[in-house]
Symmetry: D5
Subunit: 187 residues, 10 copies
Amino acid sequence: MSVLNTTLKPFNATAYKDGKFVDLSDADVKGKWAVFFFYPADFTFVCPTELEDLADIYPTLQKMGVEVYSVSTDTHFCHKAWHDTSPAIGKINYYMVGDQNHALSNNFEVLREGVGLADRGTFVLDPQGEIQLLEITPEGVGRNAAELLRKIKALQYWVSHPGEVCPAKWEEGAETLAPSLDLVGKI
Amino acid sequence: MSVLNTTLKPFNATAYKDGKFVDLSDADVKGKWAVFFFYPADFTFVCPTELEDLADIYPTLQKMGVEVYSVSTDTHFCHKAWHDTSPAIGKINYYMVGDQNHALSNNFEVLREGVGLADRGTFVLDPQGEIQLLEITPEGVGRNAAELLRKIKALQYWVSHPGEVCPAKWEEGAETLAPSLDLVGKI
Amino acid sequence: MSVLNTTLKPFNATAYKDGKFVDLSDADVKGKWAVFFFYPADFTFVCPTELEDLADIYPTLQKMGVEVYSVSTDTHFCHKAWHDTSPAIGKINYYMVGDQNHALSNNFEVLREGVGLADRGTFVLDPQGEIQLLEITPEGVGRNAAELLRKIKALQYWVSHPGEVCPAKWEEGAETLAPSLDLVGKI
Amino acid sequence: MSVLNTTLKPFNATAYKDGKFVDLSDADVKGKWAVFFFYPADFTFVCPTELEDLADIYPTLQKMGVEVYSVSTDTHFCHKAWHDTSPAIGKINYYMVGDQNHALSNNFEVLREGVGLADRGTFVLDPQGEIQLLEITPEGVGRNAAELLRKIKALQYWVSHPGEVCPAKWEEGAETLAPSLDLVGKI
Amino acid sequence: MSVLNTTLKPFNATAYKDGKFVDLSDADVKGKWAVFFFYPADFTFVCPTELEDLADIYPTLQKMGVEVYSVSTDTHFCHKAWHDTSPAIGKINYYMVGDQNHALSNNFEVLREGVGLADRGTFVLDPQGEIQLLEITPEGVGRNAAELLRKIKALQYWVSHPGEVCPAKWEEGAETLAPSLDLVGKI
Amino acid sequence: MSVLNTTLKPFNATAYKDGKFVDLSDADVKGKWAVFFFYPADFTFVCPTELEDLADIYPTLQKMGVEVYSVSTDTHFCHKAWHDTSPAIGKINYYMVGDQNHALSNNFEVLREGVGLADRGTFVLDPQGEIQLLEITPEGVGRNAAELLRKIKALQYWVSHPGEVCPAKWEEGAETLAPSLDLVGKI
Amino acid sequence: MSVLNTTLKPFNATAYKDGKFVDLSDADVKGKWAVFFFYPADFTFVCPTELEDLADIYPTLQKMGVEVYSVSTDTHFCHKAWHDTSPAIGKINYYMVGDQNHALSNNFEVLREGVGLADRGTFVLDPQGEIQLLEITPEGVGRNAAELLRKIKALQYWVSHPGEVCPAKWEEGAETLAPSLDLVGKI
Amino acid sequence: MSVLNTTLKPFNATAYKDGKFVDLSDADVKGKWAVFFFYPADFTFVCPTELEDLADIYPTLQKMGVEVYSVSTDTHFCHKAWHDTSPAIGKINYYMVGDQNHALSNNFEVLREGVGLADRGTFVLDPQGEIQLLEITPEGVGRNAAELLRKIKALQYWVSHPGEVCPAKWEEGAETLAPSLDLVGKI
Amino acid sequence: MSVLNTTLKPFNATAYKDGKFVDLSDADVKGKWAVFFFYPADFTFVCPTELEDLADIYPTLQKMGVEVYSVSTDTHFCHKAWHDTSPAIGKINYYMVGDQNHALSNNFEVLREGVGLADRGTFVLDPQGEIQLLEITPEGVGRNAAELLRKIKALQYWVSHPGEVCPAKWEEGAETLAPSLDLVGKI
Amino acid sequence: MSVLNTTLKPFNATAYKDGKFVDLSDADVKGKWAVFFFYPADFTFVCPTELEDLADIYPTLQKMGVEVYSVSTDTHFCHKAWHDTSPAIGKINYYMVGDQNHALSNNFEVLREGVGLADRGTFVLDPQGEIQLLEITPEGVGRNAAELLRKIKALQYWVSHPGEVCPAKWEEGAETLAPSLDLVGKI
């Protein structure tokens, strides 16, 4: 069965954000667009480049009404310690969620069975908490924040413009398509 | 549980390719890199722009040893008829697979329950038939073949260069990282 | 157990009719006599000759209060595209129902398991939605609309004339039989 | 699931044929084309007209290599007594099978639950014992032996001419179709 | 567990009686003494001699308030046809019940599994519908109506004379026994 | 399901016969014709008249190769004590079986549930140990040894004369019937 | 689990007492002290010596408010016949219960499985119907009524004198013990 | 089901005997006659009087080949401590078994559920380890070693004298009975 | 799952305390701090040294509001007898609980399966009856009351000083730690 | 059931030790005495004081043949990072095991359900991998390495000196006890 349009399951966790430990639940997440950005482990290698890349688009996403949650199976204590010691991680302003009880990694089905670490999985949720798009890459392949931004823009456009759809490689400002009976078999 | 590294399940289908109907099974797919490119339906709107975008990178993918299979729940008869009548679809040289029995859409978990149509899901498999990366977008958001190409290149690089990993937004020719104990907490 | 007198199960589908896409459910079907006419696939060979044959008797059936629904596991997009390009199919005025989710083919038990295509099955339902007669032929054997018309006429006669039955090869206007104790063992 | 191509189940019965009681099993039936012709009851009204209509085409069917078995839930004793006393039934030369244990009516799913009588169901089996076509009409609607003959001829033609199919209302000697890729979407 | 004193189960059937077809249910049977007289099949050999033997005592039984129901797995149509053609059967005035749905034969546990015919079983029921005595003989051994009459008379005597019992081979008018503590061990 | 032709189940019991206690099992019974003659209780009223009636035909049955076993849920001690004190019972030479463990009464399904006493049930078994005929009468109605003898004679005649059957109220020496196709519907 | 203090289960039976047959149930037993005295069978050997021994203390027990019930799997008819013919049994005035349906023997768990006879089991119940003491001996070992009387006297004493207990081999009138903390480890 | 003739279940325990701790299992018990003598608790009141009473007959039992095992849910440490401090218990020479794991009390079904103490239960086992007789008295009623001795003597006599049984209140040297057919109903 | 913070289960037991037998249940325990101190058996070797060691700190614990319950599977009778005879045990003033029904040993999961004795387990419960700390040592290793006292003091300090925690080997009066975000990674 | 003497379950993990990442399994642990020392989380407060306390006795334990494994649900990457940045943790030379897959915390039943952190649990295993003693304290109460050392010394002494046991608060060099029958009830 398709995972699209399934709803964020209940969870409770503690995150590190802006020098504080904050409690977080599914109720806090709903009501805004959200990006859940899973990665394997603190103090490793590909992860910080991805997290830094994501930090660069965070101000843009905030303006678009999109909140960002990075998640690994490390505790919020580790996130804080990493933030203190790593220059790249130190730039982060979004939520760094501690998933040491594996609840979120399990709910999004990115937990590597028997390993206790999450895949590189990105999930975009609408304000109703429903998954609208997703991407998963393996251990050794970093994601691309620019492409994520393109897709979120297309997603928000489509949702707010009934009767229009965004074609392949659509960029903000480009033309969209308006499906109609006349177009059947004509594209 | 993570879907990464799960193996292509057995299937039998008929595809349209280069003016012929050809039988296809999981055994035919294994042994090469493969892209499975699901879309909702023939004779619709976003789908042809995506399929044309994919057709543009097909020669490059072929040189990289990657075969391409587009899949919808339409029959191979429909694919042929669409190929005959649509200028965009007429350019396609890769396999257009008929999944009217829903086997592939079910195996890759992109079948919309009760609807009988597939999501926009892309899956890259290694020659062992294991899923290495994936992406799913909704009805109204087209994918981007250029980003797919970037990720497949990173994937092939990583697999063929043990001890190196590709950081965020890595492009062909850019630097990679070599994980080591000394790097722990240093990035 | 006999399938006669079993009732049409709930369904939802989209059909192509008279240049429009229309939604259709079991509630829309009940209340009139109905013919469900299954066939394997759009853009094939025997199917269009049967659909054309059926189109010829459609005006007569309409006068008799009988609606007609052709059904395959293709989408309504395909039906529209086929209607646009085939001279035979272009004549059709009845409902062409898209059963790409297999609901109707399953409900009438004509889905070829593992194939995803329907048999050539004809079902006549009374206004209560109960199956009154049926016929199934294989892939390579076309049906005969004239015989279907004969049987529907006999069926309507029998239902509206209590105490009379239509003997073998009865044609409209021919004599019927009135079962009685005296006839036992006399025919 | 489609009933076509399901195989004749094992059975044992006694039939009346040519003034004798003969034992009959599925093994006796296989190896030739066969028609199973179910009807509700001996000594009734529509049934004898159908059985007589069938008797008329029996010589032709025999020449085509097709054996005929009429079946009701009456005993072979009743069939014999009916044959002795009814002028119409007295003409019958094919097998009149006693199904008082309901085995055949159950196997072909034409037994009316709680009634103990069979529907008017016709089944044509190939020499492998697989159902190739079927027809069921209600209590008050007689079948038509001429149309049955037409369908059996088309069936035998199709089976013996690979690469050809019989279109709608095909009659012996008429043109057939040869499906090919070029015909897709052209009929 | 003993079958005595078990109650007639619900049933619906059609019987032939005095030139008419009449509907019959358990409710019709209760309220009077009843004999259910099962036999294998119409148009056979031992059966008519038994049915004729039973016909001879029918007037006496009627005077005693006992109704008679002969039952086979043939239809009421067959019973009527047999009654029309057989001199012995033509004498019958009691109910000839059609049990082609096997309900009664099953309820009284006289159906020969896999054969579809009933044993030669006689059951006498009191006006409450409870079985009071029974007898079963095989295919080749006819019953004896005189002995049945003797037992029904003894049964009615016993039921209507509390405190008396009918000894072995008791005939109407002979002495009965009155059980009492003094008789214990004295007979 | 019919009880005819079911086989004697294994049992072990002790019987009183000719002034001795003898052990008895199903193996001892098989190999000869056998009558199992159940009755409610020693030291009661109808029972001794039946047992005496049966004692009168015992010599004849012995000559016919038929052994006799009377059975109640009393012990063999009781049977012996009753035989010692009752003039009627003192005449008995056949086996008086103690069924205080209810095994035989249960196997023949004549045990009155919750009462611990057997019905008046007679069962005739062939040398293979299969039940061929049976009779059950209630508490207050004695059986008739003469009719039992008539039925056993008919049974033995039928079994030893293939192709012949004994009609209603047949007595030794009377005519039998030879079933044939020509007789169908003629009796 | 201990059987002491379990309660008499519901039962219905007929007993022989003082020349009469009387119905008996658990409701009749409760409200008084009771002895249930099981034995294997009437008309045997050890049993009558035990029953006579018990008969000798019956007047004493009656004065103590204790009723006596002897029980075997024989019927009340057998008990009556035995009482008539045996000098020892003829002396009995207590209840001789017929347990031919095995209910009591099963409830007290003294039924020999597969044999249908009871053990030599004695059970003393208080007026609440709870088992207070019990004894079981094998086939060949007779019980001792005097010891039973001793134990019932001790039991009644203990129940009616809270704070006192009867030591080993206590006889009526002998000293009892009064348990107290000071006695711990002192006896 | 009767508990007589059930076999000693496997167990392991430690006992105090003659100033030593000895291990004990079912294998040690089998091969001799045995008395298992359960009581509630060390350092209580009725128990020591019973244990002393039993100690008095222990030499006689030893001569008869009977071993004695007293059992409570106390440990062997408690038994030793009690033996050291109590004059009555100090006389004991038989096995004092520690059943603190409740195995024996459970196996003999004398454990008071939820209390953790055993009933006053005596069980006599033959050398095959099968229970031959038993007695259970409540908390406040002491047993009688003399009566136990009488029953064991009768039991050993019966077992060693086939064809003889010991009547009620039999004492060593008294007459026994020899059951025979002639005695049936004569005692 | 962690056993910490699980709640004391319901129980009923009798204890020896200050020369009296007192009933005790979970309701009596709750409302105060409590130590459950399990040991294998009365009258053994390590146990009395531990119980004496515990007796020494009992006055201090009482002042701290902590009640003490020693528990073994011996009865309260044994505890009383041991208290009477052992100089070390004679000093004890806390509750000595009899757990001969194994309820407490089972609830705290310290019962040695098949042995019927408890481990050397110490459990400290808060006034809500929740386990706050525990320790288990084997048969041959005695515990240390001083260390137990240290831990109970730390526990009470922590519970009554929110925001402070007691570091390793903390002794009463020593410094504690106050966890704060600034301390993360600084200790 | 008691947890003592249960065996270390299979596991696989990566540990940080002496500047290296090393793989570790149950097979590596067995063969030596072992301490598993669980704590909630890296970068927290009580934990480092305990780990430093343990580091102080590590050389002594190594001389005694005891290996030490500290375990939290953090990764080995975190352990390395903590070791790099914390002065207290930097002193550690024993194994710091990463249990991010929760396997060890689950096996030792110290995982806080729904929290994903371990309790402060210490487990001492013998070279056979069996748990010999354990201790668990809550979040806010630090353990005491000195007491742990005392208990391990007593444990090793007891195991290597059969016939001796270590009494309460035993310290190395102090007297032990030799259990014997004579000591029962004397301590």
